[in-house]
């Protein structure tokens, strides 16, 4: 990835601090806990998942910079959603934290020199990951889950007829 492409991707990532709360306005609050069955996440659970993933990225980016080569700790997303009872928690607090974490990660990433993006951590399942690769993964992660929330809304709307 050249410098211009990277800058554009990081700017796109930073844009989620505004785009995500904006996207959520499409969905009435009354359906944020709707799920078609226990195997699928509700919008509230997706928001908590995005928050906890962004918190993990926060730590991984900084391990890359400060202690390159270190092994990071992955988390089991389904166990976290269930055991931390995402469905029962304060979603407004989660949203505030998610927006803060995206902004903090964006502010860090946009300040870094080119060679920082070649620094790596070791992921126990995915192997060696450069900082650039983690940013790319993160960039795909949020839109994927916005799509998942839209799907949940469409399913809920179909049931209202």
């Amino acid at each position: 990835m050249n410098q211009e492409e990277r800058k554009a991707k990081i700017a796109e990532f930073g844009g989620f601090a505004l785009a995500l709360p904006q996207a959520l306005k499409e969905f009435p609050r009354s359906m944020w806990n709707y799920k078609p069955d226990p195997d699928h996440w509700s919008i509230q659970e997706v928001i908590f998942h995005l928050l906890d993933t962004e918190m993990n990225f926060y730590i991984r980016y900084r391990f890359c910079l400060a202690e390159p080569g270190k092994t990071v700790v992955p988390f089991d997303q389904d166990i976290w959603a269930r055991e931390l009872r995402y469905k029962d928690r304060d979603v407004d607090q989660a949203l505030a934290g998610l927006v803060w974490a995206i902004q903090a990660n964006y502010d860090l990433l946009k300040s870094l020199p080119d060679d920082a993006f070649l620094k790596t951590v070791i992921h126990p399942e995915r192997g060696v990951l450069t900082l650039e690769r983690i940013v790319e993964y993160s960039l795909g992660h949020i839109p994927h889950h916005i799509g998942q929330m839209r799907k949940r809304f469409t399913e809920w709307k179909a049931l209202q007829k």
Binding site: Y58, V72, F75, D76
Partner: protein, 160 residues
């Protein structure tokens, strides 16, 4: 730890958002980058360090609840301060993050059962740490760094 002691600790921890922001009012902004020498942190660096330890705490408490027994990561605080690098970063963003993460942790801790507090993670250096121990450590950690800020301020004042 009995339940009343635990409740007291959770309250104490949750009140750190107010205690810390009030504490910071004692120090003029123009000395937040003061350090007596390169081996000591300035207030800006202390705040970013405090945030990053609270972020680790956020993940450790949740790992203990969801995946008890798992080994968690531990940062080298001096490498993080130098390589991230704290001295160039927006200190208001750090304060906002500390306040948010303490509130989120405090709120989660208040909903846990007695049994939850015995759930633990494995720290690479300190071994098994249950949630009671994590709570006690985070309380002490913030207090330690609030004292460190006062010390920095006193050193700065003495040089004026």
């Amino acid at each position: 730890m009995d339940s009343s002691e635990r409740r007291r600790l959770i309250e104490n921890y949750s009140r750190k958002t107010y205690a810390l922001t009030e504490h910071l009012r004692s120090f003029p902004r123009d000395m937040w980058d003061f350090k007596p020498d390169d081996t000591h942190w300035c207030i800006r660096e202390i705040l970013w360090h405090t945030l990053d330890i609270e972020m680790h705490g956020y993940l450790r408490i949740r790992t203990a609840l969801a995946e008890p027994g798992k080994t968690v990561s531990a940062p080298d605080q001096d490498l993080w301060a130098k390589q991230v690098p704290y001295i160039q970063m927006d200190v208001d963003e750090a304060i906002e993050g500390i306040v948010w993460v303490i509130k989120a942790n405090g709120k989660l801790l208040k909903t846990l059962t007695e049994a939850d507090f015995n759930k633990s993670v494995t720290h690479p250096k300190y071994g098994t740490l249950n949630i009671d121990q994590l709570l006690a450590r985070h309380n002490k950690h913030i207090e330690h760094h609030m004292d460190q800020m006062t010390k920095r301020f006193d050193e700065w004042k003495a040089r004026k």
